[in-house]
Symmetry: D2
Subunit: 356 residues, 4 copies
């Protein structure tokens, strides 16, 4: 089944008008799976509830379009933080039954797979078991997409920071830091993809030995879930559709050539200023960027780790300038924190492009 990728704008986190317009183009019964990848605005601090607000509003819209059954076939990744020149917006992915879609000349096109683990116990969270469960869920998502490890371009992981199981009397449920949960899940996903040695799935490596990292994984944590959720993008053989996805590395925050290489790999042309010649062909771009441990960039001091603003805000805003000057648009999905997803200070980016 071909994957449709659309994008929609928002006036505020609770605004679903454009989302509803785009959703209306898809007949509910023909949507076998829906996935939303959304950047919401808000202060992106502890008391930012824009993500939860956006989710509640999106669920209402999906229910209005296809009832509880469509909602049950939906996966959500809402990420806060639209600093710099970023545009708050959403990507809508749908496995859509379109008999007219054909397999492209190259024989491969975009496929999507989703999977969800069982609930983690308070004891498991943040441990090697957490990583193993992530690996198993990636495996399930690959099966769901009908692809093998070599086909996979991007594994988007949602990982819990706490469990929702009522705590035992007199006890408080363990809550691990967001960064730590991403660390464990990234290593688990990387192991399944053959990028991380199974021997590294130990407490001593988690959020410590940052040289160990996955290569096609972006991890996000959520306090609202108690399980691991995977949304996987791959290029599948004999898949009908007109899209292809490619992922590549970024050496640091201002690695413009890194982004350009990814676009070239997808078949995009760049002009003599290094800008995409046909940006409309790029239907989605997802970047995850990091700050080096010493807070420096190319040997020079920055204030990213020593200001009143969290370093992720500096990183996202800076990246909006880098990508914006290549695409001519800051309406792309930019997120920060690449613990065990890239070498320290580095990042990764995936692009989904139309095959001409």
């Amino acid at each position: 089944m071909p994957v449709r990728v659309m994008s929609y704008d928002t006036i505020n986190p609770g605004d679903t008008r454009d989302f509803a317009v785009k959703l209306a183009q898809l007949e509910p019964s023909r949507i076998s799976r829906l996935a939303l990848l959304v950047k919401t605005e808000g202060n992106s601090d502890l008391n930012d509830f824009s993500r939860e607000y956006a989710l509640l509003a999106a669920e209402q819209t999906i229910r209005a379009h296809g009832g509880d059954s469509l909602l049950a076939r939906s996966t959500f990744l809402f990420s806060t933080g639209c600093e710099g020149a970023m545009t708050p917006f959403g990507y809508l992915f749908a496995d859509y039954d379109d008999p007219a879609a054909t397999v492209p000349a190259g024989g491969k096109s975009l496929a999507m797979g989703c999977a969800r683990s069982r609930s983690l116990t308070s004891e498991e969270i943040g441990t090697p078991a957490h990583a193993e469960i992530t690996a198993a869920t990636v495996r399930a998502a690959m099966a769901n997409a009908g692809v093998s490890v070599d086909d996979v371009e991007l594994v988007i992981v949602k990982t819990p920071v706490t469990t929702h199981i009522p705590a035992a009397a007199g006890k408080v449920n363990k809550r691990i830091p967001s960064s730590y949960s991403k660390a464990v899940a990234s290593l688990g996903a990387g192991m399944e993809l053959g990028e991380v040695d199974a021997a590294k799935i130990v407490q001593e490596v988690f959020d410590k030995d940052h040289a160990v990292h996955a290569k096609r994984v972006m991890s996000f944590s959520g306090s609202e879930l108690d399980c691991v959720e995977i949304m996987l993008l791959a290029n599948r053989t004999n898949q009908p559709g007109d899209l292809v996805v490619k992922t590549g590395f970024l050496t640091d925050l201002i690695d413009a050539p890194g982004y350009r290489n990814i676009l070239r790999t997808c078949g995009c042309q760049l002009d003599e200023e290094g800008r995409a010649v046909d940006p409309d062909k790029i239907v989605a771009m997802m970047a995850k960027v990091g700050v080096s441990p010493d807070g420096k960039l190319r040997g020079k001091r920055t204030t990213m780790k020593t200001s009143h603003l969290d370093m992720d805000k500096h990183a996202r805003a800076t990246t909006s300038g880098v990508i914006g000057s290549i695409l001519g648009s800051c309406r792309v999905f930019i997120s920060a924190n690449t613990v065990h997803q890239a070498p320290p200070g580095g990042g990764l980016c995936a692009a989904i492009v139309k095959i001409t």
Copy 2:
């Protein structure tokens, strides 16, 4: 007299160790004028005193090197806000008596001129008189530099937001907004440069008719001064030295070609990724960038005018990514707010480059 341009790093706003090292390379008696152009870190809000701290520390260092007389020959422009990947640092400009310096082949090289107006009265501030005084001070700075209007590339204006003259009994001195003071001063400076029609120096235009703007002016306001100060950069005929300065426009926040054009005008080469081939030749880069009145960028909504962070922070951070991906360094002077200094949403940038 040739102009020396050096740069120095800081560990915090009060750190002057590297500044002292650079200053030590100049013999006090041969410095006819010293000017500092510095980016300080801090929260860049009302209660950010990092600029005053940095100034106090710099004054101590200058006094230690050349006494009160060197301090009297010094001009300061400290600007807060190092968001994104920017490096806090300073540029040191000196008119330096160097008999070995020769006039370059092209016949022109960098010259500097400085001037200061008398104190403004509380009645004058924010009025056409304020603009006229700015114009006259620009004229004085041109005379000081020994250049004509056509030679001028950049006029850096420091303009007051209040007067320091004791208020009359029962009265409070007028205080105008920072943006308004920059507006008035920018128009005044632009008039002197022949870029702004004298008929536009009226209250109805100030911070209202944003289509009217100067072309080679960057304005900064300061609550610590009650007069207008000018630091002017130009290319003077028969000026000994090995530097040249050029200024150009930016259409918007992600106008990377705009920056590249300025570099090309200065004789810099760019590689196939649009990066400076020899960044060490660029001894200084000063950018001033703006956000469009509707807060959009290339037709897309941003949160720059609707977040808890002032739009200038978003703008500076974004620009650090744009420039950083061209120069391979974010150790450049980036400031925001271009009211009457560029078309709405646009900006300007000056580069000082070594003549090979």
Copy 3:
């Protein structure tokens, strides 16, 4: 019909579990009117959407309890900002058909009235017409409550900052500042209560002549509404119930005796430390506090108007300490900005107390 006043806790802005528990105690068919007065947490800046999130969640809960018809009988006042030691929570007011309720000995008890104006046009907003409409809506709310001006203790006004009517081609709807909208509405409500001279309902007074003010009005602005909404609290003759409401003035932010006077007026006893002896009798407390125009408190400089935090945050946090040390609880409704609702720098507070 007696007024029931309950309060409920929240775990986050979207949490309605305790609200649902309290609502379940009321039979939908016997609720003739429901009103929520809620403090939501969030950053309380431009990109704080916690209020909208809380509202969406509360609406779902009301609909689940009593359908769209109960929702149509509901009024909402959600206010952000829980700085200091404040507890995020909500008050639930209900006109509830309770045949067992009797008229208390004094003959008067708490009554509630609500009213909503027609939509304001873009031309009317911020003008004397806006104030007149507010006055008329207060009149309607008094009629709704069955009370006269002398019975009224508190008028809670919700006032628009913009209209939602589609703007004409090429035009943008007028948007006035939040403080200005509160100013206009407060004067209008005060006029209806006989506290503000009708001659003061002119543009020259709005948010300028702060000596003019209402005495029993708290105003809140909302970007989500295009009309004026009133929720009015009064003590009505022959009203069954066991609650009484009283409002009083505060001279400044630390006027603890002002709060104590209000409590004494309501019949509360205070101990030798000035604390409420029986805080459980105080079923609701609503304070609105202001910062003096020069930012000083009792002649001493504060940073309330010169810090990176909005002065309202400083004011609310300080007030949580003042009230908390009297009640032994910071679970009270504290809001800031008293433009035309109290003398400059002053405030007002209403308490609802059980008649023993």
Copy 4:
């Protein structure tokens, strides 16, 4: 030698005009020791340099008054954070040779003692050795003041978070969190005062077993020092002067009776509203307040630990309201974080009052 205590106002952190006026009242040769206890404004986050700025300005003023030798006899404790209604200001303490001073009737009055440890090595910092050094420095300060443990009312500790000794090649100096440094130092000082069992000076207790705490210690950390500094206040027998100091506990953030008890102990009268009858007799008040580990206050949720603002800001602002409503002034020294200085969630306060 009697202790003089004066206070001075500031217009901004670098303003020393009122400080200079107060200092001018003391003849340099008669000052045997000077100590400043100052609240500076600023954002109180990582990039707040207002404290360093204020210190640099104060040092210049002291040098201008009494040269480097007076500066060498000076001790500084600058603390940032003036949230709520607090007034930024400073207390000036001086051991001053005043032959006219007499021993008061009670036989005891305020004495001051100061001491400084050797530099800590990178290995010692944060360990039991750090606590032992703090204890020894308290001992030295008692000797300096000429008092015994029973006389001591307040020990103000300044404790390092890092060492300034150049790190070995390829190494970074250890930096411990501010809270941890305060924890270790508080336990060390408490041990010397007989309040903390020596068996508790172990890594397992540091910032973990919060039931263990000192009773007359306020700790502050500073990144600018590599040693422990003590400023100690006591009531000494046969000490000439007219001031007395007393310290007491606060059970939580809104414990107004706690503050009143301390004032009563000092001989202050309170009116029927619980306010100080003669606030001018209170020459100094220093409070240190904490937030309970679960972030609740009297069983109710607050947002102090779950907002975008650090909990210390909420705590200080709340306290300004509590103290302000007792003293009628918010020009007092309020600081937060009471790790091992009070029971969890509690605080302590010292008052210096004139003996009538």
